[in-house]
């Protein structure tokens, strides 16, 4: 699953991340005792064999519901979560091997750490309230660029402040986070991530907690900084509209995750205009329109799902993971996981429905087959 004709920055291969579902006291129980009494619990698979390449300067938006594994995938991609199986390669080298060896060839582990940065949910709230902006921002600079003098650091910070419109820049250096507006706090949080010149920034629900105007301004700023610094962005979000806003303007891709798997991936236009996987279609359906007439219809509608609650990662259904909720599910879906099929250049989906000749079409539906009304995308492309 990689974009065509560009340099790969980060490469996830058959990535699996499992969490042991054990309480602290169970960790103290010897293994043989657990075996004897049948106290062993199956680990929860948050990420279940994902392969994904991120190119230089690319924007990939990963969307899915809570518990889909999107945040775990993001953390594994930037080296914050060690995979149980599979690999994460940064510029061709396995991050965790690089960590153990500290250096492979010309590539140092420290470079990889600096190059992969993260922005948290409500970025403004992640600033230390007791420190001035100068102190907050100098720390990462001094850490990653020890050769810089204090004066150099100051210059760099001033430069980027001007870039993002925090002017007069020297005024802002001495301010504390609470002396900034919400929009300014966010800009500083983004500046902190960008100052160390990362190659890729993981933005985990960066705008969900914000009001619409702050949301748009933060996303615009991310798009601007991405161009200036030639950075890739891995955006993790539950909101397909936020993903649409960022990915569309950066010509990016969207990856839809369900219970630890990417079930559909492709260019944002392809996926929004022609979603192949029923889960993607359901997510598109769930976005609330702004028009009051359409909104009231949406409130009265039954979700096009067989079961509204998602199973959790510790109790994964067999076959296609989505079959327990999918309105299009047929017998075969419960038996076997559908393979990932390429439906057009760069557009892939894991659903039997993409194959016109598949056994699926001869099977009986598991339920009365429901339709998924998909809203039309208003953009002219």
């Amino acid at each position: 699953m990689s974009p065509a004709g560009s340099d790969t920055l980060l490469s996830l291969e058959d990535l699996v991340v499992e969490y042991g579902d054990e309480t602290a006291i169970m960790n103290a129980v010897p293994q043989r005792v657990k075996e004897r009494f049948g106290w062993e619990s199956d680990p929860a698979r948050a990420v279940d064999g994902v392969s994904l390449d991120v190119a230089e300067e690319e924007v990939v938006a990963v969307i899915g519901e809570s518990g889909s594994g999107k945040t775990t995938l993001g953390k594994a991609a930037v080296g914050l979560e060690e995979p149980s199986e599979g690999s994460v390669r940064y510029r061709g080298e396995d991050i965790w091997e690089l960590k153990r060896k500290r250096q492979i060839g010309d590539l140092e582990y420290q470079d990889a750490r600096r190059s992969l940065q993260i922005i948290h949910q409500d970025p403004g709230a992640s600033l230390n309230p007791y420190k001035t902006l100068q102190t907050i921002l100098k720390r990462p600079l001094r850490r990653w660029f020890p050769e810089l003098t204090h004066a150099d650091c100051r210059e760099r910070i001033l430069g980027i402040f001007r870039e993002v419109g925090l002017t007069p820049a020297t005024d802002y250096l001495e301010r504390y986070p609470h002396e900034l507006s919400g929009g300014e706090q966010q800009r500083v949080a983004l500046v902190r991530a960008m100052l160390v010149e990362p190659d890729l920034v993981l933005a985990d629900e960066p705008v969900s907690a914000l009001d619409p105007s702050l949301r748009i301004s933060l996303m615009d700023l991310m798009l601007d900084l991405r161009e200036t610094f030639e950075t890739s962005f891995l955006l993790v979000s539950h909101n397909i509209q936020h993903a649409r806003y960022i990915a569309s303007q950066a010509d990016g891709r969207i990856a839809v995750m369900y219970l630890g798997n990417i079930v559909e991936i492709g260019s944002i236009d392809e996926v929004l205009q022609d979603p192949k996987h029923p889960y993607t279609q359901v997510l598109l359906w769930a976005s609330l329109p702004r028009n009051p007439d359409s909104a009231v219809e949406k409130l009265q509608a039954e979700p096009p799902l067989r079961e509204s609650n998602a199973p959790d990662a510790a109790n994964r259904p067999g076959g296609c993971q989505f079959h327990t909720r999918c309105p299009k599910a047929r017998a075969v879906c419960a038996d076997e996981m559908p393979p990932v099929e390429t439906t057009s250049v760069g557009h892939e989906a894991a659903c039997y429905r993409t194959d016109d000749a598949h056994q699926y079409w001869k099977d009986a539906p598991l339920d009365d087959e429901g339709e998924i009304p998909i809203p039309e995308v208003p953009d002219q492309i």
Partner: protein
């Protein structure tokens, strides 16, 4: 053009007032001076309607919600009157002036609140059952009768009462927590429900479901709802009337169709443009320039003039009052509503999602 919106719901809301907010201000004294976080607002809430309150973060929306239950936290000072008209008729009660005993009875039994999703509305150390039983005790309702009612309300929201009542908050998903909060709010069959960003941070499918359930509940119980949100799509399907808040006061107010489809205040037009939606072209989406005002230092004249694309000298000096149109269904505080309509684009009008 207004007739098409929420046609199925006309007739639900009456013109009868259930809450009358008169000249209410809320102030805090801070080291930097007096912060006015609600600035002399007046508004009537009609029985059975859904009144949506929209605006940016820090505009005073949540303060307005807490005022309705006299819930402003110390050291905030509330002035003005909030009159509650009981359904049984009789004398209105001034919520800001009643004894704490009477207030306790009005809260939950008459007016209940569901606060922001994601905020920890439950005490993590006690079970959900205790939250319910503590509430019953405070309202002299027997444990058995109360729990029976609780189970009913939980079931109504598609929750398993057994599991939810035995759970602690960390064992519930975000959607379950919000629905449980809603069940707790409905347990005494209140007349008014105040909802403050009840779906913030929830997955879209969970949000759609919760909002759908709220919609049904309102139909069933003739609830009056005051629905506070910064996301227009969240309230668009519910609202009978919409009040737009900027700088701690209402700047536009009226029938939902007027405010959502043809707003006249420059702020409302710009706020609307910042909202994403599946029916909205990305070209039509933009942020509002500048920052919302500081409550200690609100700009002179029209408080929006510092960010307004059509402001002139008059706006910087003189403050426009909320003025009603001829039909008395639409109030706006702007000197130049016609210019706003002509010069500030507004998308998402007709149902087809056409851009102008």
């Amino acid at each position: 053009m207004t007739a098409s919106v929420n046609t199925e719901r006309t007739g639900v809301a009456s013109q009868e007032t259930v809450l009358e907010v008169r000249d209410v201000s809320v102030t805090y004294d801070t080291a930097r001076g007096r912060a006015r976080v609600l600035d002399d607002v007046s508004l009537d809430v009609h029985r059975g309607e859904t009144l949506a309150v929209i605006g940016e973060s820090g505009s005073g929306k949540s303060t307005f919600g807490s005022v309705l239950m006299d819930g402003v936290e110390d050291p905030g000072i509330t002035s003005g009157e909030v009159l509650y008209y009981p359904e049984s008729g009789g004398e209105p009660v001034d919520i800001t002036g009643v004894s704490s005993r009477k207030l306790r009875q009005i809260r939950w039994e008459e007016i209940a609140i569901v606060s922001q999703a994601g905020s920890n509305s439950f005490n993590p150390a006690i079970s959900i059952r205790r939250h319910f039983t503590d509430t019953f005790r405070a309202h002299d309702v027997s444990r058995e009768a109360g729990l029976e009612r609780a189970r009913e309300s939980l079931r109504e929201l598609d929750l398993n009462p057994q599991r939810i009542l035995n759970a602690y908050q960390h064992e519930l998903s975000g959607g379950e927590k919000q629905r449980t909060q809603l069940a707790l709010a409905l347990v005494f069959d209140p007349n008014v429900l105040v909802l403050d960003e009840p779906t913030a941070g929830l997955d879209l499918l969970v949000q759609q479901r919760l909002l759908g359930q709220l919609y049904d509940l309102q139909e069933e119980y003739d609830l009056t709802m005051v629905f506070i949100s910064h996301d227009i799509p969240v309230v668009a399907g519910f609202a009978d009337r919409v009040a737009v808040m900027y700088a701690f006061e209402f700047v536009e107010f009226g029938d939902a169709a007027d405010i959502l489809l043809s707003p006249e205040h420059p702020y409302t037009r710009l706020l609307s443009q910042a909202n994403l939606g599946p029916d909205i072209s990305l070209d039509a989406v933009r942020r509002i320039g500048g920052d919302p005002p500081d409550p200690v230092n609100v700009p002179s004249g029209c408080p929006f003039h510092t960010r307004c694309p059509i402001a002139d000298d008059r706006c910087a000096e003189e403050k426009p009052e909320l003025r009603a149109d001829e039909a008395d269904t639409h109030e706006v505080s702007c000197f130049y509503p016609d210019t706003a309509v002509a010069e500030i684009p507004h998308s998402g009008g007709p149902a087809s999602g056409d851009e102008q």
